[in-house]
């Protein structure tokens, strides 16, 4: 009665219904996630109906229907896993990227397994041969997949060890492990008699050691200096230094974060210890940049000097409390090296005036670019 396709979509609709109800109750009924899940429920229900009615589009004549009914696929849990994958993907969209990627992995894995199972069962009239071709096909995918997953686990565990050890210690561990692998591989190739149970024992021991050490170091945490870097949180407002750099930890690869070159209003350069600026559309230097009010505006900073520099936006003052005490408002880019760039995004809600004077400066460089907000 139920075709494989309709079973899948009925399962998908059921999971969407459960997910939508749970999401609506526990997360947010008016959130886009709820709309997406209810949308999936409706579309899944519609496709289930079509799929059921048309028998997966595979048998619209009575003869075909009889023939299709004669083929009874063996029970499979892959449709359920696939539907679970869809639910995890949707959950990932609403929560975070790791869940989303996990869902995609489940979807791809279940889809491949399900497809091959379905294909192999109808490959020939010989069930035994079908079973053989299925394992042969799956094997070609399973082993590389498992190997990749295994390598991922090894890399993760090993990285925990390297991050927990001191800089020097990590180098020593890396050299020792690499040397041990090379030496053991050389021994195996030169003395084939060593192969067999001894290899299994060595590999098992190494895996156990890696697992124990990896888990232990993952729990103990990264080495103190890395923990300090993370704690410093250079991008946070508290940490940001807009003068001469006092901290010792900052992003030396800040250039890599620039991705807004096509949407900048103006470019500020520092060259030969002096600051200058150009506005998009005018091919000459200006000493004043006019920034639209109440709108995100990107300013590109390009350091052409030998020394590291940062661009500082001086954005007037604001009242600290009701006593009339004011503090300076400003923001700045990371330090950037020679020929590197950074973008500063500003949103200035108040027009410039005698009381609110805005400008760009570069600590350690001469000059100032006035900022006018009409």
């Amino acid at each position: 009665m139920f075709t494989p396709g309709s079973k899948f979509f009925v399962g998908l609709s059921g999971l969407a219904l459960i997910s939508a109800v749970l999401y609506t109750i526990f997360v947010n009924p008016s959130d886009i996630g709820a709309y997406a899940l209810f949308g999936l429920l409706i579309s899944g229900g519609l496709v289930s109906g079509f799929s059921f009615y048309t028998r997966d589009g595979d048998a619209d004549t009575e003869a075909d229907a009889v023939e299709a009914a004669a083929y009874a696929p063996s029970p499979s849990f892959w449709p359920l896993v696939f539907a679970l994958g869809v639910a995890v993907v949707l959950l990932g969209v609403a929560t975070n990227a790791i869940v989303f990627v996990l869902g995609i992995a489940v979807l791809v894995g279940a889809g491949v397994e399900w497809t091959i199972q379905s294909w192999a069962e109808r490959a020939t009239s010989d069930a035994e041969f079908n079973n053989f071709v299925r394992h042969r096909a799956i094997g070609a995918l399973d082993y590389p997949g498992l190997a990749a997953a295994g390598l991922g686990v090894i890399a993760f565990l090993f990285s925990r060890i390297m991050l927990a050890a001191s800089k020097g210690g990590a180098a020593v561990i890396f050299i020792v492990v690499a040397a041990a692998i090379v030496v053991y591989a050389f021994m195996l190739s030169s003395k084939p008699a060593l192969r067999g149970k001894s290899v299994a024992m060595v590999v098992t021991a190494a895996a156990l050691l890696l697992a124990v050490a990896g888990v232990a170091t993952a729990i103990s945490g990264e080495r103190p200096e890395l923990a300090e870097y993370a704690e410093a949180d250079h991008y946070s407002k508290e940490h940001r230094e807009c003068g001469e750099e006092e901290g010792k930890h900052y992003d030396h690869e800040a250039n890599n974060t620039v991705s807004l070159r096509s949407a900048v209003l103006a470019t500020v350069f520092v060259e030969n210890g002096k600051i200058r600026a150009q506005m998009i559309g005018l091919k000459k230097d200006v000493d004043t940049i006019t920034v639209p009010r109440s709108n995100d505006t990107n300013i590109l900073f390009r350091n052409l000097d030998e020394e590291d520099h940062r661009l500082v936006a001086n954005l007037g003052t604001q009242l600290v409390d009701e006593t009339g005490v004011k503090e300076k408002v400003g923001t700045c880019t990371q330090l950037t090296g020679k020929n590197q760039e950074q973008v500063l995004t500003l949103n200035i809600p108040k027009p410039s005036s005698d009381e609110q004077v805005y400008s760009f400066t570069v600590p350690g460089a001469e000059g100032e670019i006035k900022v006018v907000v009409p």
Partner: protein, 416 residues
Amino acid sequence: MSHIDSVLTKEKAVDTVTPVKSSRRRIITALAGLSGAAFLSGCATNAPQDTFVPKGPNAQLIDNLNMIVFPIAGAIGVIVLTLATYIYIKFRDKGQAIPAQSHGKPVVEITLTIIPALILTVVGVFTFRTIFDLAETEDTELIINVTGQQWWWEYDYPVQDGISQPIITSGQLVIPAGTKVLLRETSRDVIHSYWIPSLNGKKDAVPGRIHLLRLEADEPGIYAGQCTEFCGLSHANMRMETIALSKDDFAKWVAGQQKTYTSPAAGTLAAEGETTFINQCSRCHQVNGIKDANGKPIISAPDENVYSGAAPNLTHLMSRNTFAGAMFDLVTEECRADVWEAKPEEFGAKYLKGVSEDCLNQKDLRAWLRNAPAMKPMYADPSKLEKTNGKYRGMPNLGLTEDDIDKLVAYLITLK
């Protein structure tokens, strides 16, 4: 069959067939009527947004391309439709046997591949050349920031040669004729699209991005436009006009926009209007130079009251001819016609006069002040601002009294 039977049978047949024929005839008539209307609309004389009447070099480039592509595309369209119609009629199902089937004819297939490829190559060469010509910005003479917001356009003129202090205005973009002007478009909320058909093609204004659009007008005049990217409730009412002035007149306009603010004389109705403005309007609308009773400059805070963060700057409101996103005229029909229909050499002087008391369109301005959301659909209902954190999209009904409106009109007319 008797004659009477025959007649009855025919009547029955007529009864059953007539509705079908009748409805088909109605559809054909309606389609013919629509087609005719569409065809005849091309003959409109009062069509300020006609794309086929270029008034500047950029629009001329597009028109030149159209003159190449349209005949080619039209000829192909006519040929294809004629052939298709011929085939539909000639080979329609009349119960005949299915003719012999073949895989195809390589010569025909190759020919029908090469010919379109050649046509597309020709069209592509001219199109790419036009695209690159339109994207030219190296020789820009004036830059203007254009910011779209639901549902009006703001223009600010950065400090540059000839402009010592930034200028901010809205609704009407003023440019010097015969000058290569570069618009740097962006948006504060959703995607809008800036289009003055007689001066250039359209360009989207996208939040967080700056898109460049070149404008240049051959001679002084008013060039109408319309937001062409659906942007919400009042998209249809988001209009704009570009005003081209001679270079001398543009310099006068710049000087006028940089005039310092002068409060109305004490004791006048306008002075009372200034107080009303400070109390009611200056939360969102900036008038540069206006001061409170203590002599402290008043800085509006549209970022705290308006969802998109800004409201039109009204410092020189009466130097422009429109308000509310260029939806309404600030001048009466007669005065507007006088400016619109002015000869290029007289246009600047007439436009620069601004709005006089005689020409002020009091009816629409008062109606706007009385209840703005009734004049232009906006999300300005104070009871429905949950999603915008209490901020308005558009101007709300301020509940002004007729007395307040009298004072405000008397004050606004002074903002030139």
